[in-house]
Structure formats: structure tokens, C-alpha cells
Symmetry: C2
Subunit: 469 residues, 2 copies
Amino acid sequence: LKCGGRKDVELNRNITQALIEIVGPVNFSDSLIDLVSYSYDASDHDRRPEAAVWPQSAEQVSRILSLANERLFPVIPRGAGTGLAGGAVPILGGLVLDLCRMNRILDISTADRLVVVQPGVVYAHLEKELSRHGFFFPPDPASGKVCTIGGNAATNASGLRGAKYGTTQDYVKQLEVVLPDGKIMRTGSRCLKSASGYNLTGLFVGSEGTLAVITEITLKIIPKPTSYRTGLAFFDSLETASQTVVQVIQSGIVPSILELLDDNSIKVLRQYGNMTLPDARAMILVETDGFTQAEASYQMERVTELFRKHGAVDIQTAVTSKGVEELWRARKSVGSIAGRLRPNNVSEDVTVPVSKVPQLLSKITAVIQKYGFPFVIFGHAGDGNLHPKIMYDRSDAEQKRNIKSMVAEIFELTCALGGTITGEHGVGLEKAPFMKLEHDEAALQTMLSFKKILDPNNILNPGKMDFHY
Amino acid sequence: LKCGGRKDVELNRNITQALIEIVGPVNFSDSLIDLVSYSYDASDHDRRPEAAVWPQSAEQVSRILSLANERLFPVIPRGAGTGLAGGAVPILGGLVLDLCRMNRILDISTADRLVVVQPGVVYAHLEKELSRHGFFFPPDPASGKVCTIGGNAATNASGLRGAKYGTTQDYVKQLEVVLPDGKIMRTGSRCLKSASGYNLTGLFVGSEGTLAVITEITLKIIPKPTSYRTGLAFFDSLETASQTVVQVIQSGIVPSILELLDDNSIKVLRQYGNMTLPDARAMILVETDGFTQAEASYQMERVTELFRKHGAVDIQTAVTSKGVEELWRARKSVGSIAGRLRPNNVSEDVTVPVSKVPQLLSKITAVIQKYGFPFVIFGHAGDGNLHPKIMYDRSDAEQKRNIKSMVAEIFELTCALGGTITGEHGVGLEKAPFMKLEHDEAALQTMLSFKKILDPNNILNPGKMDFHY
């Protein structure tokens, strides 16, 4: 792994002076506390950068990338650092480019069904502003309170509502990006549709900062439903619960949320989360929506019919709004509560075609049980996306080794089921070695050829995905 | 414009023998009737190819492209030839690769919400099969009865339902493509979502056969709504009607169809289409949908409220199903009926952000009136996509010259409004000279660099988009 043909990179005084000239002294740091903060994200990887900058404009980003290409140092674009795959970890050192100070919402146009934002805008902030107009931007990561739209676009993030509403990719209409050579480029169109030229926008979304730095994002927005129904069902077998999920999708109802939690998740919520839940083997949380109560209810009735038909032991639909909030809080906290069981954890986001969810669940459970780690599995079963979260202690060499082989087994069995190694977190460092399980040689070579043509010196986020120079 | 460094291409006996060996004699033709048939599509362009083949498999396509790269002749992938931009016209001659015999639906999985098809599957055939399962694939071109899914993917086609349901791009999850060098590659994932690697699928969709030949397409499908409401309103000014469209979208209702027709369209339908319509200046056709009548009706009520508020002179919503059918037939036939007014016509698909629709309409009308051609304007106003159709006589040199400058003016004013030169037809030959109105130099260079890296000899569909070698 090299940047500019070199493995060791140093930001000498000359370079840091040039950086300070570009962004100004208040937007530059090489203080230890910042470098330590920027050495990690929400993954299990870390490496300290040599410096960090907070650019204020595309022009500054352009000058920084030109400098990086001239002096050959790595530039690591960063949002809120909530990534679970190590995508923001400066694995070769170099310069962290934190976009959090480019955080303005530039335009909200409900007539055009568009919002234009800088990359540092926080998801929750955008949501709040949009909801004032009765609109929303559906892909809502669990980290929505802090994560940035730039990071979401860079990783093609999504969340609870993917099955019905799609992922970030489905909403990005236009980008302003800075290419590695410093060129500022506009992709796509402000129109709701366009068939003009190659879809560069789609290529940059999900490219994890390896092809360009995103400096402006135009998102399609959609009217926020005004009616919701929420349901909850418990099952005495995970197999039955997951088969029920398959039946729901097959029936032609796509709930806005369809979450599955395994028995360990239920235990964690009962024991550590202060929730009064039955001692069941699986739990399904479901939300339907529409403009009218009739529409939301109709869908919920179809879903609960299937719950009953498949022997759900307890079904609750007439939940109060306080109850609903509590439920979603429970669902959203299960990962972090489980995380407390051991010092470290890995949190995967393997995804399969929905019909394979039952097999994925039983196979993953068997693999983790073989290794004997504590774990929970929950996830967006409605789009086939599961989150096995496995707790361990990194200071124990044997555990560390075992976790590594266990994760490899999980990726292998997922891909054998026609799945993807990452539904929403991105590849980053974590899954780079597993790209070849999923993509054929021609696809990997094509991706690499695009990377090489745009970033011949490998200055942008080196080491991420499978691109070794 | 060159292929393999040459302007003149000839398929000598040697090459045609090799082609016959690959596809078999029944799947090869150089007969005059076939060559004439393949010399044009639904655009105003034509040029005869030297031969045509009907490949049966990706392997055959692979061998053909390898041969083309070795012997340096152009290969022009073709679906049903319904394109309006000249994308399938073999402008340098060469070999037409007609994919219509690869026309099997390989898999319909409602649990996975996917259908897998070969490129030659006809849209209407797919629709029929999907509707048996209660699902549908929304992007429905006006040519839906004959156009192929391969062509739709190659041009990122859409149709009446784009505002609510998006374009082909939003549904393609996976492709099998053959690269110009003959490599067979699989892109994307069968999963409903994936954040793994660069989005090659998105890049090939809409690339108009210039980067690869699509040999298999996996599409997301969605549950077909079970309730519909249809409405019709007349206005005494086009300006008011188009402002009403803006208000509808802004109100947070996205009808499944929201079509606007100008006074010339109404006249054509009255005079030549046998329709009894009021003598109004504009007409809006609207459809709302949902699982329940309550949902479809709620949306229709919001829309008709706005119609009333903006002074619609006549509103009909309680139309019988026979009436509804008649209306859609009218809408769908307005283009072809108008086309009879003169021997030739151009049919554009300029698109703007919805708030600019009123300006686009008045400016286009003024430009066409300045040139004095008969015309109609209709289109999918809900996503800003308008179809000005202008009739002329190609054998009249002055008319031909005037049409050319008029079309250029239309593209210029569209782009000045932040629009795109093509919402759904693609660039092809027709709009290649206008790409630079819409895309900046860096974007055009990036597109060209991808073309050059995948197709260095320019064998695949040369001359389309803006890529001159």
C-alpha cells in the first residue's frame, strides 16, 4: 500500500505552512489531541494522521488536493467519523480533511423536491429543517443524530427504511466534487430525471472518498407520510419469525420498517435495557405509513394476519405514542447496550436477497456459537440487511485471532447465499480483503482502472476498498 | 469520428465468415432488407450497417466484441429501435448487434422483489408477467408495447410515472455486461441494497451501449397499487395550468401521473383524434394511487382543491373506467396524431426543475412560434419533463435549417433554466453536440476518460454522446 509510490509519508514544515496558507491557522491543527481524535472512527481500526484541516470551500479543497498531488501525501476526507468499516481511518497517516465546517443547508426547494447541502450538514439537522416543510430525506442511519450527509453520500448509507424508501444513492441528483487533481466538477442534474451522459453522480456516491471529495450534495426529497401504524410481534423461533418476514414481502406489502431481533437482543433489552418484554426467541417490529390512517392500517392488517398465520405468540399493534417511542428507542439502543458486554466488538451489515434471510440467520448464529462469543443479531430484515454484533476483548490474542476467522466465515457464507459483504456501512479497511468474495475479477479490475485514472498517485483515502497500489 | 483509428470500415468476407461461425447462419444477415431496416430508429437519422447479428448468449457477444477489437469494426447494440435520439443508428456502418432474440425472463422472485431478464424482453411482456404476481416495474416508456428492457436500461428510460416512481436507473440492481474487450462482467448485487465497491451498475445504465453490451438485467420490482383515482382539468391559460402543477408538487402530493397538454395538443385531439374536449388552453391529467381507495382519494382531493383554487374551468374526477381508458389513449396518442401533420418531426424531452416548468413552456412556445412550425407540447410536468414535438418537411432545405437552429435554441434555453437536454430519451446522435451546454469540461473529460479506458478502439456504438475519437 503506497501513496505517490511511497510507503512512508511525512508532512514536513513546508507542507504544513502551505496548508495553513490555504485554510488559515484556525482551520489547521497538528495538536496531539486532534491527531488522536482523528486516528479512529467507530470501527476497530486506528492510525494517527500528521495533521488535520477544516476547509471552508471547494476552492480550498481544490488547492489542498493540488498540493497533495504535488508533494505526494494522503488526504483522508472525513465526516462525523461514525463509520463502522474504518473508511475514515488514515491508515498511511497524512492529512485528515474534516468537512464538518462546511455545514450549511444552501437551498430547500419543495417545488423542485430538492435540498442542496454542504457535506458537513448533520442528518438530524437536515431532517428537522425538512420536516417543517412536510418533506423528508428517508435514508436514516442509526448515527443520524451526528452523522453528516457527506459521509452518508460517500458510503451510500441507509437505515431502517431502506426496503420501502431505498438508500442514499436513490436520492443524490447532483454533486459538486473536487477531483484528486484539484479540478472542481459538477455531476448530474438538478432535475428529478435526466438521461444525459454517464451517471457520474452514481459512481461517486458510495466511493468512500477514494475518487473525489464531495463538496456539495443535491438530494431529492419526498413528502413525509402523515399517518403511521406500529406493530410488534414475538415468536418462539427465529426461523419462524424470519420466514414470516419473507411472507410479508412476498405478499406485496413493503412496510416502511420491518425489523427483526433475535433472542439475544431480547435478553439484552430485558436485562440491561430495562424493557419489559416477553421471554421470546424473536421479535419483529413493524411500521406502515401513508397519507391516510386507512392506508397505514390496511397494510398493518395484512402484516398482522401473516404474523397470526405464522404463530406469533404475542402481537401488539394498538401501542400508544409513548409506547412507540420506547420501542424505537429500544431497537436503536440494542447495539450500544450489547456493546457494553465486552471491551470490543465488531458490527457487521451483511445483506442477502430477502428469501435468504432465514438461512443467513441460522448460519451466522451457528458460526458465532462455534466460536463462543457473546452476540446479538438484529437488522432491517425487510431488505435483507442483518447486523450481527459480536463482543470480544481485543487484548486477548486468541479472541482477536478467532474474531478474524469468524468474520471471514460470516462474509463467505453471506456471499455463498448471493449476498453482499456490506449493505450500508461501506467497505473501508474492514472489508477490503473480502471484496473478491463478492465481485468478479473483471469488476474489480474495472473499479481499479477508474481509481487509477482519477487518482494515479493514490492520494485520496489510500487503502480503502480493495485498491492496493 | 473514427473506429480503430479509421473512418471507413468494411466488414470483409473474412469477418462475416467469422461472425457466422459465432452466431450460426440463421442469426446473421447482410440482406438488403435487414440492412435498410437497421439503418434507422425512431429519430431523424439514418445510415446503413454492413451486417447484423442476433446473438443468443453473453458468450457469443463476447466473441463478437473480441473479433471487433481485433479487426476494428463498429458494433452497434440495438433493442427495438424505438429510440428518439439516434442511439441505435450505425453512423459509421459496421455491425448491428440486435439483442431481440435474447428475450427470456429468467427469474421472477417476489420474496426478493426482483426479476431477472435478458435484454430483449419487451416491456409490455414483463409488465404482464409481473402483474400476475401483483408487482410492477414502473418506468413505462410510451413505446412500452414494443421497447426492450435492454434498451430501457441503456438509455435510462422512464415515462408517465417518473415523478412518483423514478426512472430505470432506480430499479437496476445488477447487470451482466460484456466489455468491449470481450470480458463478461457482473456488476452490483442481487440484494435490495449494497454499499460494496463502486457503483458500476449505475454507470452502465444510461451509457447507451458505448461502454458495454448489457446481456442480463436484474430489476427491483414493487407491489402494484390496488386503488387508483383519475382526474382531468381544463384551464384557460397554459401559464395558470403550469403554475398549478408547481403548486401540487409543493403541497406534498406526488401523483403517480401528472400530465400537462397545451392548447395545440387539445386541438389535435379534438380535430384528428375524435375526442370531445372543451376548447381550452391547457389540460392536466392526473392519477393518484395507493392500496386503499381512501389513500388514492385523499390525494386526488388535495389535487383538485388546488385545481379549483387556480381557476380550472372544468374538473372531472368521477370518470368511468371506460372514460379513463379513453383519456390515457388520448394522452398516449397525441404525439403520433400530431406527427401526421407534416412528413417529419422532432420530438424532444427537455426537462427542468419543476419550479421552472412555467418558464420552460412559455419560452419554448415563443421560440417555436418564431420559426412558425406546427407543434404540440405535452409531457410529464410532475417531474419537469416536457415533450415539444415539432412537425416539418425534411425535403425543404430551409425548413431543415430552421429546425436545426430552433432545436439548438430550445436546448440553450432549457440549460439556462438549470435543465437537462434529455430527461428520458438519451443523447444519441441528436443531442451529442449539446452535451457541453449541460456538463462542465471536467465532467465531459471524466466521461471521455472512462470511455477511453474501457473502449480504446471506439468499437462500441461510435459517435454517440459527445465522444469523438
